[in-house]
């Protein structure tokens, strides 16, 4: 009699362990493996949501700054021909529409996002410096420039985390080279951003931040489609 009770309880325990382990193993490989205190596991869709929110905010700030610049400088909007700006990121091949973005491979899309973010690291820093020295702008604008600069940095780290997680989960292959050496990504013949004026810099960044936001959203709904797409 006690033997049967023991065996039955053992079976229950085993069942419970199996069930609980099955639940936890779905879609969540732990990022912190060292058992660090206070390190809680984030799911992939959660990570995606965060970086998307971040990119949305970054684009919002760049839009605000751009419209402020337009008020101050009133550049002639309708320049004839292609006298207009050439962004230093023009050499990075980016999908220019929804279908093209959807057709692009996940690894490629992730790489494009990372390339863009890396390319803007230095120019934004210098932009912020030049804003700080200009006395025409109020503190509000220069704070925004600083925030923008920080956000690019954080967003890049976030996207790298996402890519890492995707690689761990086996969603993408390990061919994303940006994680290895970021500076390799910048093509050597890119236009020198130092020659660009502040206003053009802002214009280009506004565009690129919008690209990043859209690409991230496409990527998210392709990889984790169930959560709010």
């Amino acid at each position: 009699m006690p033997g049967t009770i023991r065996s039955v309880s053992l079976v229950w325990v085993v069942l419970l362990v199996c069930l609980s382990s099955r639940r936890t193993s779905v879609g969540a490989a732990p990022i912190c493996t060292n058992g660090q205190v206070g390190c809680h596991v984030l799911s992939l869709d959660n990570l995606f949501d965060r970086v998307i929110q971040h990119s949305a905010r970054m684009h919002g700030i760049s839009s605000d700054l751009h419209s402020e610049f337009e008020q101050y400088f009133l550049p002639s909007k309708n320049q004839i021909g292609r006298v207009g700006r050439i962004c230093h990121t023009s050499t990075i091949i980016t999908p220019n529409g929804k279908e093209n973005a959807q057709r692009m491979a996940r690894e490629q899309l992730t790489e494009v996002i990372l390339k863009l973010l890396i390319a803007w690291r230095d120019p934004l820093w210098h932009f912020h410096q030049s804003m700080a020295h200009h006395h025409d702008f109020n503190n509000f604008s220069s704070n925004k420039a600083l925030e923008m600069n920080d956000m690019v940095h954080e967003l890049r780290q976030g996207v790298e985390k996402v890519a890492e997680k995707m690689q761990v989960l086996g969603i993408i292959s390990n061919s994303v080279t940006s994680l290895a050496s970021p500076e390799v990504l910048l093509p050597s013949d890119s236009a020198d951003w130092r020659l660009m004026k502040d206003y053009d810099l802002l214009y280009c960044f506004r565009r690129d931040s919008n690209k990043v936001q859209n690409y991230l959203k496409i990527l998210k709904c392709r990889i984790v489609p169930d959560h709010g797409c």
Binding site: N78, I80, R82, G84, S90, N96, G97, N210, Q213, C229
Partner: protein, 493 residues
């Protein structure tokens, strides 16, 4: 004549010219472009004057990162004076430079270039299929609004994120109340009241673009069903009012017992020595004296002069002595100590044998003070229960030498003697009356040698008390409860 002819000809010519004013067309103006879903876009222009001739318009564009000039792919889908760019011809994040050219037989006219990026011109269509549903709950009704996103937007792929806003107005007022709905396609309104017509409109926004137009109005009437509920609530209120009144009546009828229960009578204080019966009967003078003495107020001196003095008799009952002397002595000690430490300038009551002035009486009162810490001295006079022997005292007028006392003659009683404590172990501070001569001279017995030293310093015995180190004066008696009763002193001699 010729002049008239020439004039007429001129007139004709001008008329002819005016009626058929053919000229090159006026300059068209590009108005705006709009992309409803960030995948296609449409541009509109306004033509200038047509110059009297059939004029055609062509839209040409150049694009960043694309060589050459191209013409509009679709002039028809979006109506007159418009150009529709389908998905194949739309690129986002690139600049378009558009120009419209109007041309007729006489010439062309080109509009100013219009630069745009599809990213900047996003404005969605209004949400569709707005439905309202009234949910009637007991407390207040609520309104559920539901709608669909515009049909041409692609939300599944995550390409665009749609945010909604709705506005509500009641009846015919012009005050719209706006609410943001985030990305939900439904919303519940709780601040609606019955008996009104509510109009609801919804609009949406794509990413960072412009808000769409408001959707078509949808309205709903909420029925006034509150009247049905009124009788029920009235009934309930009437019933509860009746119950309250009944409870109140019962309470009033039984108020005495209620009062007894709520506020039970509190036993009053009993002061020993004061007979409440006496108080009530109104023996005011005696009682007044008693009360006056008990208080710690400065004594009313004039009262004393009118009356016979009452003295503080502090003695030890012989009966009590026999029972437990040890205990008594212990209890007696603190009181006396107390006195000695506090009243060193005045006579200690322990051997009160010097009744000189009213000062003494005040002393008595003062002495009462320390006493009260450990007990109180009870004055009893004319109390039936206690058999107090009436004792006569005399006032000492003068002390001569160390053993002669002169008494005052104004004493009521003729027999003058001084009362001393008499007990077994008489302390050294007391003196025995040796002899009474005449009616106001008292000779005291001389003390033994041990007390001579203190005697030498003064005549008054207070000095003795001062110099004697803390010897217990068996002068007061304290019962176990701490009360001191006046005991009838046995007359000396």
């Amino acid at each position: 004549m010729r002049r008239d002819l020439r004039g007429a000809l001129l007139l004709l010519l001008t008329a002819a010219v005016q009626s058929s004013s053919m000229s090159a067309p006026g300059k068209p103006v590009l108005l705006s472009c709009r992309s409803p879903e960030k995948e296609t876009f449409t541009c509109w222009w306004e033509p200038g004057s047509d110059g009297g001739l059939p004029t055609t318009h062509h839209l040409y564009y150049e694009r960043e990162r694309l060589e050459g000039t191209y013409e509009c792919p679709d002039y028809l889908s979006a109506g007159r004076n418009s150009c529709f760019f389908d998905k194949n011809h739309t690129s986002i994040w690139v600049d378009y430079y558009l120009t419209v050219m109007a041309s007729n037989a006489l010439g062309n006219a080109t509009s100013d270039p219009f630069k745009m990026d599809v990213m900047e011109i996003v404005k969605p269509d209004a949400p569709e299929n707005v439905t309202l549903r009234v949910e009637e709950r007991e407390a207040s009704p609520c309104l559920h609004v539901r709608w669909m996103p515009p049909s041409n937007t692609d939300t599944k792929s995550g390409w665009v994120t749609i945010k909604y806003e709705l506005r509500v107005k009641k009846d015919n007022s012009n005050n719209w109340k706006e609410y943001t709905s985030g990305t939900q396609t439904h919303f519940s309104l709780y601040s609606v009241s019955p008996g009104g017509v509510y109009t609801v409109q919804v609009r949406c926004l794509l990413d960072h673009g412009e808000w769409s137009e408001w959707s078509n109005t949808t309205f709903v009437k909420i029925s006034n069903y509150l009247q049905n509920e009124r009788p029920l609530s009235m009934l309930i209120s009437i019933l509860s009012a009746i119950l309250f009144i009944m409870a109140g009546l019962i309470l009033i009828a039984k108020r005495k017992s209620v009062k007894q229960w709520v506020l039970p009578p509190v036993p009053g204080p009993k002061i020993r020595g004061i007979n409440s019966q006496l108080l009530q009967s109104g023996g005011s003078d005696d009682v007044g004296n008693v009360l006056i003495i008990k208080q710690s107020f400065p004594p009313i001196y004039f009262v004393w002069e009118d009356q016979m003095e009452d003295y503080l008799i502090v003695t030890e009952n012989e009966d009590w002595l026999s029972s437990n002397s040890q205990k008594r002595k212990k209890s007696l000690i603190p009181a006396c100590f107390h006195f000695d430490s506090e009243i060193h300038s005045k006579e200690s009551p322990c051997h009160k044998n010097d009744w000189e002035k009213d000062e003494e009486i005040s002393q008595v009162d003062n002495n009462n003070k320390p006493f009260t810490n450990t007990g109180y001295v009870d004055f009893q006079r004319h109390v039936e229960n206690v058999d107090v022997k009436h004792v006569d005292y005399s006032r000492v007028k003068e002390v001569k030498s160390d053993n002669i006392l002169f008494l005052e003659k104004e004493k009521v009683q003729s027999s003058g003697y001084i009362h001393f404590q008499r007990q077994e172990g008489i302390p050294e501070d007391y003196s025995r009356v040796k002899e009474v001569e005449s009616d106001n001279l008292v000779v005291l017995q001389k003390q033994n040698a041990a007390d001579l030293s203190c005697k030498d310093e003064g005549n008054h015995y207070t000095d003795c008390a001062l110099h004697k180190p803390r010897k217990p004066h068996v002068c007061t008696e304290l019962s176990d409860s701490g009360y001191v009763d006046t005991i009838p002193a046995p007359p000396l001699m």
